[in-house]
């Protein structure tokens, strides 16, 4: 028992010594710090690159800069403890005035609650929350999701601008049972009717089923020529699944047809594989990536027929929320300024604009002013940006519901 006391005493002494030391070495010039928590490379690389971009711009807090970057565990579903303590550890820094978590995996809301109890002065931003909207809305100063509702209209609108007469939506029952995806499909169908286009729903195998990714991709490869023949070359295709995207693009290059953007659009989504591009040298630099992909698309005769978001969504959300927080803390803007939020995002996407609208609770119809749905302009290869964010969207689309 005695030696245990000795051990404890020793440890306590060590704790105190280092507590004293770590406080002393504080010679940085940044007026405040911003904590950024993302997944790791294996979990979500783009989110992490966004944080690195911020460090490039504003410096690491360790070396007198502004940004403190941490990651949550890869198996965050098992290690909520760690996620919470990682986020909470940021609040230990008295100069830290904002925390950005992208993606806001489960545990973020709890961590935010604890940060609030200790440090009500810290701004709390959540990107792409995994927890229920009401839960995160209650604790976060700002939450960001991709705007699946508006895009239900804008994708169709863009397809029409590009010249498509019909729109094929490829998915499968599991995805269609997700509220967001199912709802977007209904909105797309409505938009097609309104814009005078034909809407076709095609079913493809679920890559998580027993056919596997290879089987699902094979199916797309085999079906595409038939579909293009059936619906004509002036048809835009869209799929909800990432694995389907690559074979879809491949056949579109071979047989004709249009592609507006992927479900999670990025120049890296589907194109490198479909075009056989090696982009390792350009990693993280989206302008170079875009340029290289574009050259290749144009060379294959795809100018004007293929679109994307020019920048990665995950990358921009991390970096954009960081920028937004910095502007608020620096007094350049204030929390809730929508234009400034859009502008903060656009800072990392030269050429492309962003639009944002409040999240609307489908059950109550209530708007949440601290939960924004965002999307950006579509980029058409060989043609440039389409002003999708500038489109006025009829409010009736927001009232469409899965249940009626």
């Amino acid at each position: 028992m005695k030696r245990i006391l000795k051990l404890a005493a020793l440890l306590a002494a060590v704790l105190l010594v280092f507590a004293a030391c770590s406080k002393g070495a504080d010679a940085d010039s940044a007026p405040f710090h911003i904590g950024v928590v993302t997944g790791s490379v294996s979990q979500s690389e783009d989110d992490l690159r966004g944080a690195e971009e911020l460090i490039k711009l504003y410096g690491d807090s360790k070396t007198g800069g502004m940004i403190t970057h941490l990651t949550y565990p890869d198996n965050f579903m098992d290690q909520m403890d760690t996620t919470i303590s990682q986020i909470l550890s940021l609040a230990d820094d008295a100069k830290l005035k904002a925390i950005i978590v992208n993606q806001a995996v489960p545990g973020t809301a709890e961590a935010f609650k604890r940060v609030r109890e200790k440090r009500p002065d810290i701004l709390l931003f959540a990107g792409e929350p995994h927890e229920d909207p009401p839960v995160i809305q209650e604790v976060a100063d700002m939450a960001i999701n991709s705007d699946f509702i508006s895009r239900g209209y804008t994708i169709i609108w863009a397809a029409k601008q590009m010249g498509a007469k019909a729109f094929v939506h490829i998915s499968f029952p599991r995805h269609m049972s997700y509220e967001t995806l199912g709802l977007r499909r209904l909105i797309m169908e409505q938009a097609c009717t309104d814009l005078g286009m034909q809407f076709i729903f095609e079913t493809a195998p679920d890559p998580t089923s027993e056919v596997g990714v290879a089987g699902a991709q094979q199916y797309i490869l085999e079906k595409m020529p038939q579909w293009i023949e059936k619906y004509g070359e002036e048809t835009a295709f869209f799929c909800t699944n990432d694995a389907h995207t690559e074979p879809l693009l491949k056949q579109l290059f071979a047989y004709g047809g249009y592609f507006v953007e992927a479900d999670l659009p990025s120049p890296l989504m589907g194109y490198p594989g479909a075009l056989g591009l090696d982009l390792t040298a350009e990693a993280g630099d989206f302008q170079k990536i875009l340029k290289k992909v574009e050259e290749s698309v144009v060379a294959k005769g795809g100018a004007g027929r293929f679109g994307t978001w020019a920048y990665s969504y995950g990358f921009t959300v991390t970096a954009g929320l960081g920028e937004y927080a910095r502007r608020i803390l620096a007094g350049e803007t204030q929390l809730g300024d929508k234009a400034s939020l859009n502008d903060s995002f656009a800072k990392f996407t030269p050429g492309a604009k962003w639009a944002s609208g409040p999240y609307v609770n489908a059950l109550t119809g209530q708007q949440a002013s601290n939960h924004m749905l965002v999307f950006m302009d579509t980029y058409v290869f060989g043609q440039g940006y389409l002003p999708t964010t500038a489109q006025a969207i009829d409010p009736k689309y927001y009232e469409i519901s899965v249940n009626n």
């Binding site: 440890l11 507590a19 992490l48 098992d78 909520m80 303590s85 550890s89 709890e110 927890e131 229920d132």
Partner: protein, 370 residues
């Protein structure tokens, strides 16, 4: 010198982790007050679960990885309380009252199974945990919502079948911790939670002095002899597991009320794992454990969990590598503790053998040939 060596060898696991922690603390750059307040929080949260492991170890059954069954029972209790909208402390009491009969049943079941798997209790317990996973998912995803109606929308899956993946425990959050929260400087101390833990310690001390506790200690050391002395070995082992399972049930409820969030289908899996890591790091072996081991273990393991991600980040200049390193250390704990335990066993055998050798050598030196 010999004493020091022997002390180091006997406490090698604890010392290794103490060393890692001491190294990690300055690198993490965390303030002492942060570490201490986090330790208090984590201590209140998880030490009850670790106590659940003491009795089976005492009864010679190793680490009861089947305590996952108890944790599951606790979660079912919580689902019940949340679904019926019972809030705060009352919600936790109700969850416990629902969980206890369930965990007694599950504990009895796993005790039966473990009795049939003598000598392989730990791995069997592990597998039992996975087996329970299946049953629990069947219960949560199918029975709930079909046989047992779900009353609250926040509990139901969006598509209406079963309990949802992540359950917000907002209504019972801090139901124990926040009854009385004492502020000492920058730290807030959950007085009632600590009181509950203290009561549990007293229970264990008292229990060791009962006839049943004495019987567990006896069968923990020598099953055959205990049986010959008329102790009902099988029943005693089952009781050890039942008590452990009930404690795990309560422990999981305490754990989750602090965390405020529950991954319905995965939270329980970690229960046995982390508790095992803590008690092993605290210097317990699969055959010997005490209250002291629990306290030291929880303290060290959590100090490690708090500091390693940041220390790793500082050392490798990358947030991600820091996270990997902390994962590596966390998962390495059990493996290394078990390996070190095996090493200690071997050392004990060698020591015993050394006695034999020395006596033979002494005879040789005396020139005596029998």
């Amino acid at each position: 010198m010999r004493n020091v060596k022997s002390f180091v060898a006997d406490n090698i696991v604890t010392l290794i982790f103490l060393t890692i922690t001491i190294i990690a603390i300055p690198f993490s750059g965390l303030s002492g007050s942060y570490i201490i307040s986090n330790l208090i929080d984590r201590f209140a949260r998880s030490s009850f679960l670790v106590f659940a492991l003491i009795l089976p170890i005492m009864a010679g059954m190793g680490i009861n990885f089947a305590m996952v069954l108890g944790a599951t029972a606790g979660q079912i209790g919580l689902i019940f309380a949340v679904d019926h909208n019972i809030m705060g402390t009352e919600g936790l009491i109700l969850a416990t009252l629902v969980g206890i009969p369930l965990s007694v049943g599950l504990g009895w079941f796993s005790g039966q199974v473990l009795n049939r798997a003598r000598g392989r209790e730990m791995v069997t317990g592990f597998i039992l945990g996975y087996f329970m996973d299946g049953i629990y998912q069947f219960f949560g995803l199918y029975i709930m919502g079909w046989l047992i109606p779900i009353r609250t929308a926040q509990v139901m899956q969006i598509d209406g079948g079963g309990v949802r993946n992540t359950l917000a425990l907002e209504s019972v959050r801090g139901g124990l911790d926040k009854i009385v929260s004492l502020k000492v400087g920058p730290f807030s101390i959950p007085v009632v939670t600590f009181a509950v833990i203290a009561v549990l310690c007293l229970f264990i001390i008292w229990f060791r002095r009962t006839k049943l506790g004495q019987d567990m200690r006896a069968i923990g050391q020598e099953q055959g002899i205990s049986h010959a002395a008329g102790i009902n070995v099988d029943r005693t082992r089952i009781l050890a597991i039942v008590i452990s399972t009930v404690l795990a049930c309560i422990g999981q409820i305490i754990y989750l009320q602090n965390l405020g969030n529950m991954f319905t289908y995965t939270s329980q899996r970690q229960a046995g794992y982390y508790a095992a890591a803590a008690i092993l790091v605290g210097g317990a072996t699969v055959s010997k454990a005490s209250i002291k081991n629990v306290f030291i273990g929880v303290f060290l393991v959590h100090a490690l969990y708090i500091t390693t991600p940041l220390a790793g980040k500082a050392l490798f200049k990358s947030a991600m590598v820091g996270q990997y390193m902390s994962d590596f250390i966390n998962y390495g704990i059990i493996a290394s503790a078990l390996v070190l335990h095996a090493w200690k066993n071997k050392r004990a055998a060698d020591l015993a053998r050394a006695g034999l050798r020395m006596s033979a050598e002494a005879q040789a030196a005396a020139g005596g040939v029998a």
